[in-house]
């Protein structure tokens, strides 16, 4: 995917790139363990986990709300040190931790505001800046499941979709 995705321009001069060299881990709280999980997250990352559809930058990890009591942790991939193994140890007994790096593809749209494709093609409201920096939505695009979040610093948007649909989603994202 990398050579397909990089450097192609989207509308309004924005650029789309595939994020590479990252580890993506899905974390789901065990029943009744949410408070203890937040304590463990505070110790390891300096923050409780978001309860609303928000994304937070927490040191070496980006933590994305992924449904009630679920999150994606996005970290830099490192040779010889698997971030999901580390997370499993950090959250031992408190959460189910699964490495989904190979099942999700992430794209970044560098843009100060939403592109035409987002405004016209997604079912959530992007107009009038209603999707704020740090906001997250889980939705679909032409029947493809996709997560979208706006980077907390307002410099763009990121998208996570199933790897098998990545080419189709990338084509859609570059339209308009």
């Amino acid at each position: 995917m990398s050579n397909l995705a990089n450097g192609l321009a989207a509308g309004k001069g924005a650029s789309i790139s595939e994020r590479s060299d990252i580890a993506v881990t899905h974390v789901a709280a065990r029943r009744g363990a949410r408070a203890a999980l937040d304590d463990a997250a505070r110790t390891a990352f300096g923050t409780a986990l978001p309860s609303a559809p928000r994304v937070i930058e927490a040191g070496t990890a980006t933590i994305v709300w992924a449904g009630p009591d679920q999150w994606l942790f996005i970290e830099k991939a490192q040779a010889g040190s698997d971030p999901s193994v580390k997370l499993a140890a950090t959250f031992q007994g408190l959460a189910s931790v699964v490495d989904v790096s190979d099942s999700r593809t992430l794209f970044r749209l560098a843009a100060s505001g939403p592109s035409e494709a987002l405004i016209r093609g997604m079912g959530i409201d992007f107009e009038h800046n209603s999707f704020k920096p740090g906001d997250v939505a889980i939705t679909h695009v032409s029947h493809l499941g996709v997560m979208v979040w706006r980077l907390p610093d307002g410099s763009g948007y990121e998208f996570a979709c199933a790897r098998t649909y990545a080419r189709d989603f990338r084509d859609w994202l570059g339209k308009v």
């Binding site: 559809p53 449904g67 009630p68 079912g123 959530i124 939505a137 889980i138 939705t139 679909h140």
Partner: protein, 97 residues
Amino acid sequence: MRIKCPYCGERGNDEFSYLGDASVKRPDPSAADASDAFYAFAYERKNVAGPMQELWYHAAGCHAWLVVTRDTRTHEISDVKPAQDVALEQQKTASAP
């Protein structure tokens, strides 16, 4: 029709799938009339004209099951709650002395 998911906010109904009456409860399989009760549980439904509580699944969103109170004549939605919260509340009421 749009449904306000308690987790995601308001979304189009294309993101949801419908299961039906949320008031139906699985009968006790050890009861003497279990066979009849299971028949009713599986097949018999009221054809409500007015507000009813329904189970909806946010399939293309957060994957939560929701209890939606919808008027079947107007599609007006007066309440949406996570099904988990509704179930826990009912458990609490049932176990209260």
